[in-house]
């Protein structure tokens, strides 16, 4: 079985326009999804599922969201944490106040839609300001939103602590959110969102809306002159990006940390997700997954690997190492390979397609 890009001729535009035009890629993705949906919940350890797979998948959703805004539409945002918080708080509010017979994905979606509305509001300045100044404006959104959700007790049903537990909700009698839910159930719940949102992201990227985003990113003046409306296009990127972040925020609260709290969505989170996008690859859906896995797993890796070899490394050194590796990776990808790990993966495939004859 060789991976082949060469020699895969398309006989119709429909075939060439498929989400993954190369059959090998299609089988690979289907295989990954099947492994993720069946083998991991069946055989994965609780620790792996609960503490690694779930958060990596949720962060991938946030990274896909930021990638739409920054990677495709070219609008830099440091407000990811704030948009995630918007999703988390609103879906908590809905989940705790809706009739029991409504399915649990409804509050998650409403949280996403609320985040989208918030994203549109904070995206409005993007018509006038760009680059660094826009980043500062979204940074203001980050701080304002966290302050807002902390200051209005309505969002947490006037809970005394201000940090309520995630609501326990069920599907077919199984808990899928909150502390009572078993890891496998949470995982499958999260995975469903991941798969659907990844498909949607790929579809948008190959449609009119995706091309409009990229056109605005690459040359907004030319885009306007061929009839693309800049404000509408930028706001749609803000809305859809924030929708993804909002869903990620809701899932983060409901299925990972089991509480709704502002510290989970602070400025550090915004930067983490931005680094995932940079390291994974700007403008690539696959990159969101690679970046999320890299950023989330690197510290775990550094903490564990020396131990396997009988080495003792002090935790403070590990923390420093982590910063150094992140820093180096970010600088490398920003300067050398803006298309990130996803591009490196593609290059590896291109090498492979000609293997074993390089010419």
């Amino acid at each position: 079985m060789f991976y082949r890009e060469a020699g895969q001729f398309k006989t119709s535009y429909a075939a060439d326009q498929q989400m993954l035009p190369i059959p090998m890629d299609r089988y690979f993705v289907i295989g990954v999804v099947l492994v993720a949906a069946i083998l991991i919940p069946a055989f994965g350890s609780q620790y792996w599922i609960e503490s690694i797979m779930v958060p990596v998948l949720i962060l991938s959703i946030a990274a896909m969201g930021l990638n739409i805004l920054t990677g495709y539409a070219g609008q830099l945002s440091l407000g990811t944490g704030g948009f995630m918080a918007a999703g988390a708080y609103m879906s908590y509010k809905v989940a705790t106040n809706m009739p029991d017979f409504l399915p649990v994905w409804i509050p998650v979606l409403v949280g996403g839609l609320f985040a989208a509305a918030v994203g549109i509001a904070f995206g409005l300045p993007s018509l006038r300001i760009k680059g660094f100044y826009l980043a500062v404006a979204t940074l203001a959104a980050q701080f304002f939103l966290l302050w807002l959700f902390q200051s209005i007790p309505w969002f947490v049903n006037n809970s005394v602590s201000g940090v309520p537990s995630a609501p326990p909700t069920t599907i077919l009698g199984y808990h899928v959110t909150g502390a009572q839910a078993i890891p496998e159930a949470k995982y499958l719940f999260v995975l469903t969102f991941v798969v659907i949102l990844a498909i949607i992201a790929r579809n948008m990227a190959r449609s009119r809306v995706g091309r409009s985003w990229m056109a605005i990113r690459d040359m907004d003046i030319a885009a306007e002159l061929i009839g693309i409306r800049p404000l509408q296009t930028k706001l749609s990127a803000f809305a859809i990006s924030s929708f993804y972040c909002g869903v990620a925020g809701a899932l983060w609260s409901f299925c990972y940390i089991n509480t709704v709290e502002p510290t989970a969505f602070d400025i550090g989170r915004s930067f983490d997700v931005l680094f995932m996008v940079i390291i994974g690859g700007l403008g690539s859906v696959l990159g969101a997954f690679l970046g999320a896995a890299f950023i989330f797993l690197l510290p775990i890796f550094l903490n564990n690997v020396p131990g396997w070899f009988g080495l003792e490394i002090a935790t403070d050194i590990v923390a420093h190492l982590e910063f150094m590796i992140f820093g180096a990776a970010i600088i490398f990808f920003l300067i050398v390979e803006p298309h990130g790990l996803a591009r490196l993966w593609q290059i590896a495939k291109e090498k492979l397609r000609l293997w074993p004859f390089p010419h």
């Binding site: 535009y13 429909a14 060439d16 326009q17 989400m19 949607i200 579809n203 948008m204 190959r206 449609s207 009119r208 809306v209 091309r211 409009s212 990229m214 056109a215 990113r217 690459d218 040359m219 003046i221 030319a222 885009a223 306007e224 002159l225 061929i226 009839g227 693309i228 409306r229 749609s236 403008g283």
Partner: protein, 279 residues
Amino acid sequence: MNDTASTARDSASTDPGGKPGRIGDVILRVENITMRFGGVKAISDVSFDIRKGEVRSIIGPNGAGKSSMLNVVNGFYQPQEGSIWYNGKTYSPMRPHDAASNGIARTFQNIALFKGMTTLDNIMTGRILKQKASLLEQAFYIGRGRSEELEHREFVEEVIDFLEIQAIRKTPVGRLPYGLQKRVELGRALAAQPTLLLLDEPMAGMNLEEKEDMSRFIIDVNEHFGTTIALIEHDMGVVMDLSDRVVVLDHGSLLADGTPDEVRKNQAVIDAYLGVAHD
């Protein structure tokens, strides 16, 4: 290509009345346009018209206001005075979206492609105003989200075949050489099936062979699709060969307006421009 007389094109399409048969009524009138940038007067009180189906060239030395004029026509610049009459409506000023949605497309003197996108995607953006699928249809690639993609892809493939750029379909345009980028940019404009095509120095920086290719594309577009073309070009041989009528600008003012022969014989033009720039 240089000075091989202007007659080839004129005679082929001239009816007995002396008026080229493929040329129709006036579709665009530039009316008393004045455009200032601070103290600089880029265009002063210029008027001319463009007839349906013709190739209308705008010539003049550097800084004469040619690019600014095209920018006024497609709404990128809004002039202080004057208006644009186009297809029965007066625009003062024209806006970019009006221009694009009423069939005015263009290429730029300094290529304005979307560098990170492939040739195919760049040309597909030319179809954007014709795509109507809702966001949901696009998100799930169903209904019009799918059918429109296939339909427009088919048209874009025709453009790609016409321009002979099949081999670079999937290449990000930022990696293409200059001449090919110019061609892709023409493709993006053609994909919109424009009524009026504005070309700002489409052959600048090209070698002879590339210029010949580009001239051929321009003639084909004009003759086979009946597209009206406004062309800015410095190569006098090309201008005299391709144009039905020529406008000469100098320092923002209209110096002459007429057929290539008339313009060539115009003493003011010879003094101001042709005598200097033309060997």
